[in-house]
Amino acid sequence: MPKIIVDGIEIDCPAFWTILDATNFIGINIPTLCYHKGLSLWGGCRLCIVEIREGDNTKFVSSCTFPVQEGLFIRTASQKVIKARKMILELLIAQNPTSKVLQDLASKIGLRKIRFKPKWENCIYCGLCVRICEEQMMANAIGFINRGDKLKITTPFDKNSEDCRRCGGCMYICPACTLRCEGPHPESVLCNGCYNILQPTCLELYENYSCWMGLKGECGTCVNLKKNEEID
């Protein structure tokens, strides 16, 4: 069983797990959007990114698709991760401001401002509907067409599909078009009506009291000021 370190916590986990399985197991909350337990892995929304160590550097990977490996060192809530996650959510909300799922996520991770012009689209191309149609409903009635800025999810040739049984699985699973957030101010791009507490993040510098993990900087993810002073 590979041993991995998540935010300073060591766990032995089965080799077939992904990082997200491991973090769920120990109760660390990573926001996800295109991930669903009953469907195949996609890794498209990039909200579940975590930072892993690679040589002397770190890199971002999507935790829902990345398999655990021996000695993997993971930070799920470093400043860099939170910043990147906010930017990705900002991009998604600017695309589709009316999704309640996205607005709730924004409240949860503390997104306060959208700097892009809203597009007021209805789809965020997370691919959940395509996957549920193919994998659970065995219908294969919808799919992606085109690419880049012309990407669309639709039936073949944009016509009524004979394969579609009107089961509504796609609508059931959609995080964007089904649950609408009208918000306190319908005209504002960001709602923040359900604002609750901020997700804690790691500190770049270690202080005695502020380590939310209660580890006093022992996990090695932040710079220990005191240790540096001693060296000086």
Partner: protein, 612 residues
């Protein structure tokens, strides 16, 4: 065509080819790749065929792949003297035939640089400074004819490889220091070792010929001019890895390349180089051709695999790497066209010979397509470690029309630009990366002072936002937003916060994207921001485009001294922005002007001034 059943039979055949000299004393080799066709080589060939009638015993014609010198297309090389004639027209054909019969050189058709004439190919500066290992034989091979390839010693590498153990071949490739030519520069030997160590009965190899970078065409050139070299490389690779099936994934926008590689795979099969029990070695291998539908992202290996499987060309997360779980779930080794083409040469001449070329960490030669605002455009094959200066100024002969060169873009849309002051840098994987660009597949676009760097970045981001597969949100939305911000900047609508937002967005797209396309997509923005930030600021603060490219930031004015009041500009203005009485100097209403420039084009008195 005879089928070869053993190595001995091959050796007899190659001896026969070497012994029998061509019956013609002279051969005219016509550069007839796609680029040649576009500039009229088909008409030239017809004219030469007509002109050569009656002299067939002395002069033979050979239609070969591209000779590499695109600025001189259509061109011919007279063999065996190697006289190079450039920019030919069908009318020149009789003169060429006559000159060969008389043993003369036509002075008006040879390369002329700064008043000096260079009739022979080895004297021309464009060719002289190159080291042509892969492309040198292009001028003597008829790409439809496998015998031409065997006559120049083709398949010697395969014969040598079949006498070696697979492990020895991999060791040899590792020793040679060959790195992937597709862009990332992963050591080929190590890649092969990983694939060969996989425990699986079925393994596959793929040749990635989905070359999509704007302004890069070295893979097409190899496919069109010397396809047997690639096939030989693939057979050696398959033998080393233990694969029995291979694919060539070639984009359908290269019709001539698809045609040539298909004919050549069939020829190789007929000759016995592909199929069951190759040359009695007990090794089976065959190649299939898959045509790509033109998505840039399908050059990414996981997307390419999905595309061959018949699925949508979306990349997926690595690990698992294709070497572990690739095509149809089996270990798969993917290499670029140019990487495969290097293999036969390495095996034939030895790793030591190959490792002598290049720098410490980047070995061998690399083909670059030198395009843009440079005099000698074309494909240049240079040893690694040559400086950008040498490529642009010595081989490329500097800028067109005496302009000043400003920067060079390497690595296609995913690469970055390198400004003139860094042209002393050697071309290898590490130093280009350090300068904020990448080697990429080898596109080199030279830009002169008339290029606006913001507009340039916008062009590439526009390409990428259309070519992103759309799977991951950071790449799909991120590139679209970068394009939006860059468009705002070029139209003078952006504020100072835009640069910060653009930079922040670029770094996050780079870090969080799923595949190589997204991870390198912000490079054009980041490198121009690094070296040409002042141009961005000029667009935003002063609302001026220093290069005079961004139309929205130009101001058109009428010089009252020159204006005769003829009214032509008034008639041609689509917005009705020009006001004035007949025979009186006119004025442009700046609020209505859309800067289309019609007035300037139509003014006979040069009275319309465009202010930058």
């Amino acid at each position: 065509m005879i089928k070869l059943h053993s190595i001995n039979e091959y050796e007899e055949l190659s001896k026969k080819f070497n012994g029998s000299k061509n019956s013609n004393t002279h051969i005219i080799s016509i550069s007839s790749g796609t680029c040649g066709h576009a500039s009229g080589s088909i008409e030239l060939e017809e004219a030469l065929k007509q002109a050569v009638k009656g002299y067939e015993d002395q002069i033979g014609l050979k239609s070969t792949g591209c000779h590499g010198f695109c600025a001189a297309e259509p061109n011919v090389i007279i063999l065996p003297e190697k006289i190079f004639y450039k920019n030919l027209k069908p009318e020149d054909a009789p003169y060429i035939i006559q000159s060969i019969l008389n043993g003369e050189i036509l002075d008006n058709l040879v390369i002329n640089e700064n008043g000096i004439k260079y009739p022979y190919i080895h004297e021309i500066p464009f060719y002289k400074l190159q080291r042509r290992i892969l492309t040198a034989s292009n001028i003597v091979i008829d790409p439809q004819n496998i015998e031409d390839y065997i006559a120049i010693g083709g398949y010697k590498g395969l014969i040598k490889a079949l006498r070696m153990q697979p492990k020895e071949i991999i060791e040899e490739i590792k020793k040679s220091g060959l790195r992937g030519r597709g862009g990332a520069g992963f050591p080929t030997g190590i890649k092969w070792e990983i694939a060969s160590n996989q425990k699986s009965d079925i393994k596959f190899i793929i040749c990635n010929a989905d070359e999509g970078d704007p302004g890069a065409y070295m893979d097409r050139n190899l496919l069109e001019a010397n396809p047997q070299l690639i096939i030989e490389g693939m057979i050696i690779g398959a033998y080393a890895i233990g694969a029995n099936r291979g694919w060539v994934y070639v984009r359908d926008e290269y019709p001539l390349a698809v045609k040539t590689i298909t004919i050549n795979v069939n020829n190789a099969r007929e000759m016995g180089f592909l199929g069951k029990n190759i040359l009695n070695s007990g090794f089976d291998f065959d190649i299939e051709i898959t045509r790509g539908a033109g998505a840039f992202v399908c050059g990414e290996e996981t997307a390419l695999i999905h595309s061959i499987e018949g699925k949508r060309g979306n990349p997926s997360q690595r690990p698992p790497f294709p070497a572990e779980k690739g095509l149809f779930g089996k270990p798969t080794n993917i290499n670029n066209v140019e990487t495969w083409a290097n293999i036969p040469k390495i095996i034939e001449k030895g790793a030591k010979w190959y490792a002598n070329i290049g720098t410490e960490r980047s070995k061998g030669t690399k083909i670059f397509s030198l395009v843009g605002n440079v005099k000698n455009t074309g494909l240049v094959e240079v040893p690694m470690g040559i400086t950008i200066d040498e490529v642009v100024f010595d081989i490329g002969s500097g800028a067109l029309n005496g302009k000043k060169i400003k920067a060079i873009q390497t690595g296609g849309p995913s690469g970055g630009c390198i400004p003139l002051e860094h042209f002393h840098l050697p071309i290898d994987y590490e130093s280009l990366k350090k300068a904020g660009s990448i080697m990429g597949s080898g596109g080199m676009i030279v830009m002169d002072e008339d290029t606006c760097m913001v507009d340039f970045a916008r062009y590439f981001i526009n390409f990428l936002q259309g070519e992103s597969c759309g799977k991951c949100s950071s790449c799909r939305e991120g590139t679209q937003r970068m394009f939006e911000i860059l468009t705002d900047i070029t139209e003078g609508k952006a504020d100072e916060e835009s640069i910060e937002l653009l930079e922040e967005l670029a770094y996050i797209i780079k870090a969080t994207s799923l595949c190589g396309l997204g991870q390198t997509a912000p490079n054009p923005v980041l490198s121009t921001l690094k070296y040409f930030r002042e141009e961005y600021i000029a667009h935003i603060k002063d609302k001026k485009c220093p290069a005079g490219v961004c139309r929205a930031l130009l101001t058109y004015k009428i010089n009252p001294e020159n204006c005769t009041g003829c009214g032509v500009c008034k008639i041609n203005c689509p917005e009705g922005a020009i006001i004035g009485e007949p025979k009186q100097p006119h004025i442009i209403d700046q609020n209505k002007c859309i800067k289309c420039g019609f007035c300037q084009d139509n003014c006979k008195f040069d009275s319309i001034i465009c202010e930058i």
